[in-house]
Symmetry: C2
Subunit: 415 residues, 2 copies
């Protein structure tokens, strides 16, 4: 089953079973969506004819200059550095239709069929679809609580070198904050090692790192990790991407990339062919909320909302799953996902008794197996991605209770 | 020079020569941009939390259902038919980031390297870039005042058949209303013949027609042509695309396609990989202006604005070019462009004395040669695309006067 089909299947299940509590949907909590903030921003933009017209005219392919500048400042503030220390300027920034478009553009520009991308297993399954789309091969690196295992990454690179395949390795992809789906952050020392490895194995060509920081600003507690990007002092090895979809509004659809200077032209040329540039109006809107301070104050509310939901899911896991043998889960410090593993005899896939039982009882999840490349042998079959973004804390508690009942029913059937 | 580079060159010339009157820019007239209409639409959308949140949440890849329905009705009204007569439904509609993204998606989905697209010469040069991007070969069909010459198209298809290349022909591309750059509309009988030819030569596979109707609603006078699509009673041969960029706002960036039913899934899957769907917020905005009637009343104002500018350019052509031997031009009934041909000894390309003279004297145009495929032998070298969209009527008169002086200066140098 392709990843696109998997999403369609989940959406169809949701439509056909309207009473089901979805712990599958990766949507943003509707009650957090910034309706008043958007109205105020558009009022400001349209308060002068000149400014309004600027937002409604064609933009440029890399995106609205002022927003790129605001984002560069915002990025420096996340990094805790000055513009000077950053060693980059506005021509390292490009704006896209969500960060998804940047992921897609990177694949289109970097990969020839048969080229290799190193990814985590599990990983963000839509990106695996992008890799499939350009005919890339994937090598899957296992993860633990500290994210991608760098010892395994090094072994994989060494093996590829021995096999004469190093020249085909173009990219290492990592969701570095509150990973979708695993919920992990890459440990700080691994961030440094990742950059060192990419540079060390870049012999006849550059092996780039694509750092997907989509969830970076959704931190509820725990360590504030430096980016992988921060360890690349050359500013030439890491493509960093982030989005306003999770922290502000996915309907506005503005994402960005901080890219090595020499990659702006090819990425921009590709984007120019695809769409001439994303919505200029949406970019002016995000510029207004960033400069007015509305973004920061909204983000505080978003974090509080999700923190309460994260707490509800973790508490419900303890309450309902602690007594089921062989069930483990990871408790995230941010993001939107809890990653849960069931006993070895309870597979969780779409065609499994577990998935059917869960839907019948009234809850839905994302089977973990779709978060591994489709061609991977021995992919784990008993994991689940549980999202706490959309449901209320009460819905989460109820959904987790039902899910535990479904697991217990399957476990007793197996005995 | 690639088409992307050509645009960059023009933009750079504009920046370096700020006093120059640009008859090159394809931008929309800034004074027509709908600042008040957009403010009112966003007020309406954000007047209820539920509705506002609907616009700010993720949308679907093919686009906002209600907007697709409104566009289907709008399209039927342009066609002068009922929904029942149309024989299509909402699943034939897809929304894109401008119509440019639909052009790009069609190329990505239809073409393997070496496949063939039949295009007009001259044609919309950005689309030629999309064809290059997917490794398509182009066969250029000459045009006259009635648009693409169908006798020449038939000859080309016949020749391709004799050469055993018919199986590689995937698409015929036509800008059917007020062509960019030639200003022509495809004659009605040719529309019927075009569909018949595509169907007749579709032997082992379908040769599709891509009808680019970007300028359809910018009609100032003259005949209201039926679409090419209307002659395809099977509803299976024509991909029709249009945009709200020219008639409403390019910054909002909403275009659409009316596509054969079996193409929605592959186009949508491709778009899902690229960006998950365009800005849902922008789609809600366009839905509001379509359903409130603001779009139609705004469009009247836009047409009046451009009609006056078209008149100004045509009058200026008569006033300043009528006495220059060998200069001809086409007077369009809509759209944004006048296509002018200079005497055979005055080439107009970027590196020509004519282009340099024009910029020195204070006016800029798009050299006609970039509107032909870069690899085409014997492409005409003495044409110019003159846009009347951005300048005021006075600016157009002044620009045309300067341009005529530049032509006269070059003509006397040649004597």
């Amino acid at each position: 089953m392709t990843h696109e089909l998997a999403i369609s299947f989940l959406m169809q299940q949701a439509v056909e079973n309207p009473g089901v509590i979805s712990l599958a949907a990766g949507l943003v909590a509707p009650e957090t969506l910034p309706v008043e903030e958007v109205r105020a921003a558009v009022d400001a933009i349209t308060s002068s004819a000149t400014r309004g017209r600027g937002a409604l005219q064609y933009g440029t392919t890399p995106g609205y200059y002022k927003l790129r500048e605001l984002i560069l400042n915002h990025f420096c503030s996340l990094e805790g550095i000055t513009r000077e220390q950053a060693g980059i300027d506005i021509d390292n920034l490009m704006l896209t239709t969500g960060s998804q478009q940047l992921l897609s553009l990177v694949c289109e520009v970097l990969f020839d069929p048969g080229d290799i991308c190193l990814i985590s297993g599990p990983t963000y399954f839509v990106f695996a679809g992008n890799l499939d789309g350009v005919g890339a091969r994937t090598v899957t690196i296992p993860v633990d609580d500290g994210g991608m295992r760098i010892d395994a990454l090094e072994q994989a690179l060494e093996l590829l070198d021995q096999q004469g395949e190093l020249s085909r390795v173009k990219l290492i992809y990592n969701v570095s904050y509150y990973d979708n789906p695993a919920g992990t952050c890459l440990a700080t020392d691994r961030r440094r090692q990742l950059v060192e490895l990419a540079q060390r194995y870049s012999r006849d060509h550059r092996i780039l790192i694509l750092e997907d920081a989509a969830y970076r600003e959704l931190r509820y507690d725990g360590e504030a990790f430096p980016s992988i990007w921060s360890f690349d002092e050359s500013r030439g090895w890491v493509i960093y991407t982030q989005t306003f979809s999770k922290t502000f509004s996915p309907g506005v659809r503005v994402g960005f990339g901080v890219v090595p200077r020499d990659l702006l032209a090819p990425l921009s040329e590709r984007k120019g062919n695809e769409d001439f540039g994303s919505s200029n109006f949406a970019q002016h809107l995000v510029a207004e909320v960033l400069s007015s301070g509305a973004y920061e104050s909204h983000l505080q509310k978003v974090r509080e909302n999700y923190r309460a939901k994260r707490d509800a899911m973790v508490e419900a896991a303890h309450a309902h799953f602690a007594d089921i043998d062989g069930v483990t889960w990871r408790e995230p410090h941010g993001g939107l996902y809890v990653w849960m593993t069931l006993p070895a005899n309870i597979p969780t896939g779409f065609s499994s008794p577990m998935f059917r039982t869960a839907v019948e009882k009234g809850v839905m999840y994302v089977p973990g197996e779709i978060c591994y490349p489709t061609g991977m042998t021995n992919r784990p079959r008993t994991e689940m991605r549980l999202s706490y973004g959309v449901q209320s804390p009460e819905g989460i508690e109820k959904g987790m209770q039902i899910l535990a009942e479904a697991v217990k029913a399957r476990a007793s059937d197996q005995e």
